[in-house]
Amino acid sequence: MGIFDRFTRTNDEQEQKKLEEGLEKTRTSFFGKLDRLVRGKDNVDAEVLDELEEVLVTSDVGVDTTLDIIQHVEERVAQDQYVSTQELNRLIRDEIAKLMLEDAPERPADFDAPLPDKPYVIMVVGVNGVGKTTTIGKMAYRYKQAGKKVVLGAADTFRAAAIEQLDIWAERAGVPVVKQKHGADPAAVAFDAVESAESQGADVVIIDTAGRLHTKGGLMEELAKIKRVMGKKVTAAPHEVLLVLDASTGQNAIRQAEEFTNSVDVTGLALTKLDGTAKGGVVIGVSHEFQVPVKYIGVGEDLDDLQVFDRKGFVEAMFEGVER
């Protein structure tokens, strides 16, 4: 199984197991249900498609994307005349995989892949409470494990104790933080962090930013400024703008992606809190509509609870329970 080999290429079995655990709920409720509803039938009737709609919608895939998927499934079913459970599984898997964007080679997600720039600047953005700081802590740890020199920039100078929180994560990961005091200009902190990373010869610099609702124009502008300022220090920085989405968020994630893309041109997604019962189905539509790949998934609160997202592996893993 070539696809699967690719997925496990960089990660050990333990990591795969964690991913599977994290996705277990998704699998059992999403495709387990599908399995039940198709089992015993040898073709797809309207009732099955209706129930498929329910399954997708309750996974936060969203009405529009769900209708897209169903339409494609219907078209293929009409073409093939006869569809078995297995064929339907494959068909839906194909449709979902097709919707999610493949990782871009110039922005590798793998922590031990060689980085195209030095320092490679990653700016992390998102609304309040999605898990930006936690994700950064885990990323720092993983980069460090992969032998890279990491610097963090504490550009969330707004939220109470955000700097302290990043400090603690940095200590756990064993990486330095560039910071100023609470209330300082976040763009200045970002600039300092990039500058410091450059002079230290660091490989990666990750910039934490304050959570902000995408509807607050002033704050979005501030974010754009933080981004611009970094470009003045290192050409083309930030190389990656990572939008963090909470898996439990519903269709509002699409609006978030839209606004953050407008102001800072998001290049990648991180999906957090997949260790609960939320399915995070909205990333399918987000990845498709904004043509950005999902790069990481968060599956817990420990340092190593961050997985490199693999599109095909993700879909494969989702289907495992059904294929038996």
Binding site: D64, G217, G250, N252, E258
Partner: protein
């Protein structure tokens, strides 16, 4: 691509306005659209289904009134049902017979518990209580620090347990000792902030259950992010099974989410939503009123909240004076400046605008930054009293001087003056809406107006509000 629930409903209802009467056919079509709109607003699949079925039953069962359009009639039914789903009436916090009243805060990670805890503290301080906060989130890095910093902004003490400079990871102990501390120091309310936890994390769910049995809280509040999707029902249910909480708090309502989760949770666990949290400033907290939420969802505006907040800042005399000025067109830049100062005290501007019927949809994409006032203030402050009273004397020379004095460009000054004129025009129109001598808007009158216009929802079909 994304449309708010109210826009969708307006659209859905528009498709039947203009048709003679409600019948099976046109209702079925509208219901499908409403159902889809609800799903897009993140209302749970099953809840949306139940809701539309109920509306459909009512709509087809009800006698068709000849005096209103089907759109108006259906609007009323949808509104009634929404209100019903959301829980009819506002329910307050349960206070202890013998202080301290103990309030336990619980929820998922990142839902906004700590910020809400600080807001709630401020709310109680405003009402004359003396709260104590318990920092029982002993796990998340710097959580205690965050609570302390927020609490110091409202001058409320925080109880935390540290040994040798590190936080003792015993949430039950923190909660118990905080209650004892409150008794000793005569604080009448204890708010216990707990760590965010996944509802499937058995160990952590047990911990919060242990806190509950240790301190026997008068009130347990479940905090939930209003942007939550379909999973809202699962988490709300699980937390409820574990804690049997008394109320729900909806956070981050200042975004553009329509808060379908509110509908889902309310109908699934049958617990009232008690507070709505609408921003990062500590006074961005309002009690949750289901009827107002339903109005807001339908784009009818949150008039009552608006008037109440306005009344906190205005006394009747001031309001009367202002109204006279608006009517007589005496409203000048000095009044405008004074107005700005009062509005700033009322809370985040976007919230206030969103509460005005018919305005909600139009300002949602607008960037209303509270700091935007600063420039306007600077320009007005650079004017002489005479200029403020008679803006028409502002010629080129004066405008250049004002620009210089306020550090703005001449074109900013021009724009501000133009905006002031436009606003004055709009205020004149609006003043026709305000209740005479009451200094506030009257909801019933507004509703009558909307109904009497013959066009259904504001912006939905021709009648609605004048000139907005």
């Amino acid at each position: 691509m994304f449309e708010s629930l109210s826009e969708k409903l307006e659209g859905a209802l528009q498709s039947i306005s203009g048709q003679g009467r409600i019948n099976e056919l046109n209702v079925a079509e509208t219901m499908r659209e409403i159902r889809r709109a609800l799903l897009n607003a993140d209302v749970n699949y099953q809840v949306a289904k139940d809701f539309t079925n109920r509306v459909k039953e009512k709509a087809t069962g009800e006698e068709v009134l000849t005096s209103v359009t089907p759109g108006q009639q259906l609007t009323k039914i949808v509104y009634d049902e929404l209100t019903h789903f959301l829980g009819e009436e506002h329910e307050d916090i349960e206070y202890a017979n013998e202080p301290p009243t103990v309030i336990l805060i619980a929820g998922l990670q990142g839902s906004g518990k700590t910020t809400f805890t600080a807001k709630l503290a401020k709310h109680f301080v405003k009402e004359g209580h003396a709260p104590l906060l318990a920092a029982a989130d002993v796990y998340r890095p710097a959580a205690v620090d965050q609570l302390q910093k927020l609490a110091s902004q409202v001058s409320v003490p925080v109880y935390s347990v540290e040994e040798n400079g590190t936080i003792v990871q015993d949430a039950v102990r923190v909660a118990e000792e905080a209650v004892a501390e409150a008794r000793r120091t005569a604080r009448d309310i204890v708010i216990i902030d707990t760590a965010g936890r996944m509802h499937i994390d058995e160990r952590m769910m047990q911990e919060v259950a242990d806190i509950k049995s240790a301190v026997d809280p008068n009130e347990i509040l479940f905090v939930v992010d209003s942007m939550t999707g379909q999973d809202a029902v699962n988490t709300a249910k699980e937390f409820n099974e574990q804690l049997d909480y008394d109320g729900v708090v909806l956070t981050k309502l200042d975004g553009d989410t329509r808060g379908g989760a509110a509908l889902s949770i309310r109908s699934v666990v049958n617990k009232p939503i008690k507070f709505a949290s609408t921003g990062e400033k500590l006074d961005a907290l309002t009690p949750f009123y289901p009827d107002r939420m339903a109005q807001r969802i339908l784009g009818m505006g949150d008039v009552v909240s608006f008037v109440e907040r306005a009344q906190e800042q205005y006394d009747q005399k001031q309001a009367k004076k202002l109204q006279r000025k608006i009517r007589s067109q005496d409203f000048d830049l000095q009044d405008f400046y004074d107005q700005l100062q009062r509005i700033k005290k009322m809370g985040p501007l976007q919230d206030l605008l969103g509460m005005i019927p018919g305005v909600g949809n139009q300002v949602k994409d607008l960037d209303v930054d509270d700091d935007a006032f600063r420039h306007i203030e600077a320009m007005i402050l650079s004017m002489t009293p005479e200029e403020r009273a008679n803006p028409q004397i502002l010629n080129g020379t004066r405008r250049r001087r004002i620009a210089k004095g306020s550090g703005m460009r001449v074109r900013d000054v021009n724009q501000m003056i133009k905006q002031f004129r436009d606003m004055k025009k709009m205020m004149k129109k609006m003043s026709g809406l305000t209740g005479s001598g009451q200094g506030g808007m009257d909801l019933q009158k507004l509703m009558d107006r909307m109904g009497g216009g013959g066009g259904g929802l504001p912006g939905g079909g021709g009648g609605g509000l004048p000139g907005m």
